[in-house]
């Protein structure tokens, strides 16, 4: 049971956290010295796993009568003044068939609590404003995109360097060979230059001058560290990413890290807190945040229907869409071009299938994000993308086992085409996942037959979802060479 109470860093009290945050912003404002770039305290920042506030009861200790009093007191407070349930608002954009969130507070909340959506101008975390400010010289620090760009340029430079070194080595060898040839015109042979059949293979190959990328990187790292040490206190935000090569995730999502702040009572000694940005736009009247948070349809529906933490307005932004109407809207937009409004809800709709999978993994505690960059449907993160790489990549395949789907030939053919995947496709996806060190999960969704009376389907969404079944298969390449023991 201790595991339960420990599982999520519970908010000791929301008020305390808020004050800590405001304090941190104050401190950030006061001490604007450019600090070294380091990771923000993600554990504190993303301590809420869902955009819902929880109010745990004080522990009830049987032999302590005071604890009973405190429990009763907490009940009483909730009764008198029920805590405000935060509902964020967004609107549906039918042109892109996606959900847009424009309110800065809602954007921060949805990203920080559960990693929902992506910035329309950013890679994932909405950080456009930070980058723009940075670009205009208004802010120090580095954003994740900049870190990545810098890493890429570094890598490219190293590769160029390596190519240059290799070219140099070849030239030297050519020169040496030419010299040897001249010499051999006078003498007879030069056996030492030629690699003998046995000599080469003794493990110690004479190609030791090969330029090692890693070695060069280490050397460069050392150099830059030294330079940093020399210019301590000066602005040196571009320290290369010196995390261990195979250690934790090195991708950074921090928007602002120029100011350091020590959180009292935190286990991490160097735990800089974040500025609540987005609201920073108010300080800069000339810079508007052009970015919005873009939610996928599955995420939006989960937030509305599953959590009740979001309300979605229609395109004209005057009516709030109810979950059933939202569901039919998304189902219509799951095909392109969207059919007319008259189309009925179908159980084999691709939105339904993908939402079932999304909801399933979200309800287990995974952070589910789109896996389109890896050629899959979803990526499963443990706690969130800032903490670790995704371990599982999910591919969704519908399954039509119910006799309804094989009643007519036409229906049979349609279902067969929907669930058919070729071996080439599977191997392709599998090899890509192996390359990026993820495990491939094929998630089969058993699609129920449509219900006869149409009134039922869109009214009771819970009953509709409960008719689906998911089953995960983990697929991995089996290499007989390695399992031999």
């Amino acid at each position: 049971m201790t595991s339960q109470s420990n599982s999520i860093p519970m908010p000791a009290s929301d008020a305390a956290a808020v004050t800590a945050k405001s304090e941190s912003t104050k401190k950030n404002a006061s001490q604007s010295r450019p600090g070294r770039s380091s990771r923000p305290n993600y554990r504190h920042l993303h301590r809420f796993s869902l955009p819902l506030s929880v109010h745990p009861l004080p522990p009830l200790i049987p032999h302590n009568p005071l604890s009973i009093v405190s429990v009763l007191l907490s009940y009483l407070t909730y009764f008198i003044a029920p805590p405000q349930h935060e509902v964020y608002s967004a609107y549906f954009d039918s042109d892109t068939s996606s959900i847009h969130v424009t309110d800065a507070m809602a954007i921060r909340a949805l990203w920080e609590m559960g990693f929902f959506g992506k910035g329309s101008l950013s890679r994932s975390e909405p950080s456009w404003l930070e980058r723009e400010k940075k670009r205009r010289g208004l802010l120090g620090g580095v954003t994740s995109e900049e870190v990545t760009r810098q890493r890429r340029t570094e890598r490219r430079e190293l590769k160029l360097e390596r190519a240059r070194m290799e070219k140099l080595a070849i030239e030297q060898r050519l020169k040496a060979e030419a010299a040897a040839r001249e010499a051999s015109d006078t003498s007879i042979d030069q056996p030492s230059l030629l690699p003998s059949v046995t000599g080469v293979t003794n493990g110690t190959l004479p190609i030791t001058e090969k330029f090692s990328l890693r070695k060069a990187k280490e050397a460069k790292l050392f150099e830059s560290q030294r330079s940093v040490a020399q210019t301590e206190g000066e602005n040196a935000p571009d320290t290369p990413d010196n995390s261990p090569p195979n250690g934790g995730k090195t991708v950074r999502f921090s928007p602002v890290v120029q100011a350091k702040e020590f959180v009292s009572g935190s286990t991490v000694a160097h735990a800089p807190d974040l500025v609540v940005d987005g609201r920073g736009a108010e300080d800069e009247p000339l810079l508007d945040n052009e970015e919005h948070l873009q939610l996928s349809n599955e995420e939006a529906f989960f937030l509305v229907y599953g959590l009740g933490a979001l309300q979605i307005f229609d395109g004209r932004r005057n009516t709030v869409l109810s979950p059933p109407s939202l569901l039919s809207l998304f189902c219509q937009h799951s095909r392109f071009p969207p059919p007319g409004t008259s189309a009925d809800l179908e159980t084999d709709d691709s939105f339904m299938i993908s939402y079932v999978v999304y909801h399933h993994f979200r309800s287990l505690g995974w952070v589910v994000r789109s896996g389109v960059k890896f050629g899959v449907d979803y990526l499963l993160y443990n706690r969130g993308p800032v903490f670790s790489h995704a371990e599982f990549a999910v591919v969704v395949i519908p399954s039509f086992e119910h006799p309804h789907w094989s009643e007519t030939e036409e229906r049979k053919a349609r279902c067969a085409s929907k669930q058919a995947r070729s071996w080439w496709w599977l191997h392709c996806v599998n090899r890509v996942q192996a390359q990026v060190k993820k495990s491939l999960v094929v998630c089969y969704v058993e699609v129920p037959p449509p219900v006869e009376d149409s009134s039922f389907s869109s009214e009771d969404i819970g009953a509709l979802l409960a008719r689906y079944t998911v089953r995960e298969m983990l697929i991995r390449r089996w290499v007989p060479n390695r399992t031999r023991d």
Binding site: T2, S3, Q4, N6, S7, I8, M10, L50, L52, S53, V54, H55, Y78, I170, R173, L174, E177, P195, V197, T198, V200, T201, L205, G248, V268, V304, Y305, G306, L307, V356, H359, H360, S363, L364, G365, W366, N382, F387, E401, A420, W425, L426, H427, Y444, E459, D460, A463, L465, A466, Y468, T469, M473, L474, I475, R477, W478, V479, P480, N481, R484
Partner: protein
């Protein structure tokens, strides 16, 4: 899939390097290592040679050309090395086109007697063989697989430790794939039977007859007793790597499979946790799930409560007994039991296999299996839930291991690729129940903290 490795394309020496199937983790080999192999020089030092570095581009240096030459030379040396078959180790098998039969000297007079007197013995034998009783007793020679078609009258050598079946006349009968495999690797010499060659009048002489060619062996054995080229390529490929393979009951089309795990699964119901979960689900009535929010409108006490309320999607529970025993259909059927080289193996009493392999032809079965096909295939394998201290600790490992697993061998025109399919039940692993690791950096804690405590 069937294409040459991408790395090999970049290699300058595409004269033979690319055409040779190099299974050493899909890389093109540097053949200079061949000249270092111990069997060529002496048998005293048995260390594997290291592979050299690869050059990706041709350059005009003599040095590279010399390496290439050396590699080629090593290859030629290895190929030109005389492979000797010592007459002392020569194994001679005789093809029996009509299946297992007693030797001619005893066959005709007392064929009936042998069957009757061996009957109790045969039933006892079948108890520990992998075949169903009906299969074994149909053959006229007891204890021998009826599909066997080659017998070795004078068996010796290490091959018969995990291959073939001996009859009561001390002849070892080989299945077609076993005979073909041994013939291919040059360990066996198969002779045509005297009846086929027409020189029968010799009677029982020492001269066993005319040797069978490899082509003739392929013609005779492939297609015999359910042996296809796909199955044979899987068999020989894994054999060459040192695995031991036996035919699984699913090899034959019409055979009922043994369901070893039926009783095991029956006694394990949904368990207390499952009942509790069902009760909790019932408790949170469907009022909120109709139009949402599923998490409820009131005050939330903890995230775990929210997650529990959110779990409304049913998932497959691999521990639950299968609803209706369904029959697996070819090709999604276990046809081979595979044993690691390290697994102690006895021919008469094969242990539970390390891997179960189904062979799929990618050209006839062009699509990935559907849920039904894969589900029945997995149901035919025994339940193997993750256990052990390490599995307890590692969530990812537990998920990757799964509750049941099967290996699919996808054969695409001779190229075999293996996929391990495991029945992972994500729904049984509640991630939100886990302890969040302490500290900001995960790299500092390679091991997640044990649950609870």
């Amino acid at each position: 899939m069937a294409d040459t490795d991408e790395a090999a394309i970049h290699l300058p020496s595409h004269d033979f390097a690319t055409h040779i199937d190099t299974d050493l983790s899909d890389e093109t080999q540097d053949f200079r290592m061949l000249s270092n192999l111990s069997f060529l020089t002496d048998t005293s030092q048995a260390t594997l040679p290291k592979r050299g570095e690869k050059d990706f581009e041709p350059n005009p240096t003599l040095y590279q050309a010399d390496i290439l030459d050396a590699s080629r030379q090593a290859m030629h040396n290895a190929l030109a090395h005389p492979r000797l078959h010592h007459p002392k180790n020569q194994i001679i098998g005789i093809y029996a086109p009509d299946g297992p039969a007693p030797p001619r000297s005893v066959a005709t007079p007392k064929k009936l007697d042998t069957i009757t007197e061996d009957d109790p013995l045969s039933t006892k034998n079948t108890a520990d063989t992998e075949e169903t009783p009906s299969q074994t007793t149909t053959g006229p020679v007891t204890g021998v697989h009826p599909d066997s078609c080659v017998y070795v009258p004078n068996p010796k050598g290490q091959y018969f430790k995990n291959m073939g079946r001996a009859d009561r006349w001390n002849r070892v009968w080989l299945l077609p794939e076993e005979a073909l495999y041994l013939l291919e690797r040059g360990s066996l010499d198969i002779r045509w039977p005297l009846s086929e060659t027409g020189c029968e009048d010799d009677g029982e002489t020492d001269d066993p007859g005319i040797p069978m060619s490899l082509q003739a062996a392929y013609a005779c054995f492939i297609g015999r007793g359910g042996l296809t080229v796909d199955r044979f390529s899987v068999y020989s490929g894994l054999r060459r790597l040192g695995y031991t393979l036996i035919r699984a009951p699913g090899w034959y089309d019409g055979v009922e499979e043994e369901t070893e795990d039926r009783e095991l699964t029956k006694c394990q119901g949904p368990g207390l946790a499952g009942i509790y979960g069902r009760f909790m689900k019932w408790l949170h009535s469907s009022r909120t799930t109709a139009v949402g929010p599923v998490a409820g409108l009131g005050i939330h006490r903890s995230y775990n409560d929210i997650y529990r309320k959110l779990s409304i999607i049913p998932f497959h529970d691999p521990m639950a007994p299968p609803s209706q025993p369904s029959q697996t259909k070819l090709p999604f059927r276990v046809v081979f039991y595979v044993y690691k080289p390290s697994t102690p193996f006895r021919k008469t009493a094969p242990p539970p296999p390390d891997f179960r392999v189904a062979v799929v032809n990618a050209r006839t079965q062009t699509t990935v299996p559907t849920l039904a096909q894969l589900g029945t295939l997995l149901e035919s394998t025994p339940l193997d839930p993750p256990k052990g201290e390490k599995m307890e600790r590692m969530l990812y490992m537990r998920l990757r291991h799964g509750y049941r697993s099967v290996v699919l061998a996808i054969v695409d025109q001779g190229v075999v690729s293996y996929l391990r399919v495991a029945d992972a039940a994500f729904g049984k692993e509640k991630l939100y129940n886990r302890v969040a690791p302490i500290g900001n950096k995960k790299g500092a804690h390679p091991r997640p903290k044990p649950k609870g405590r």
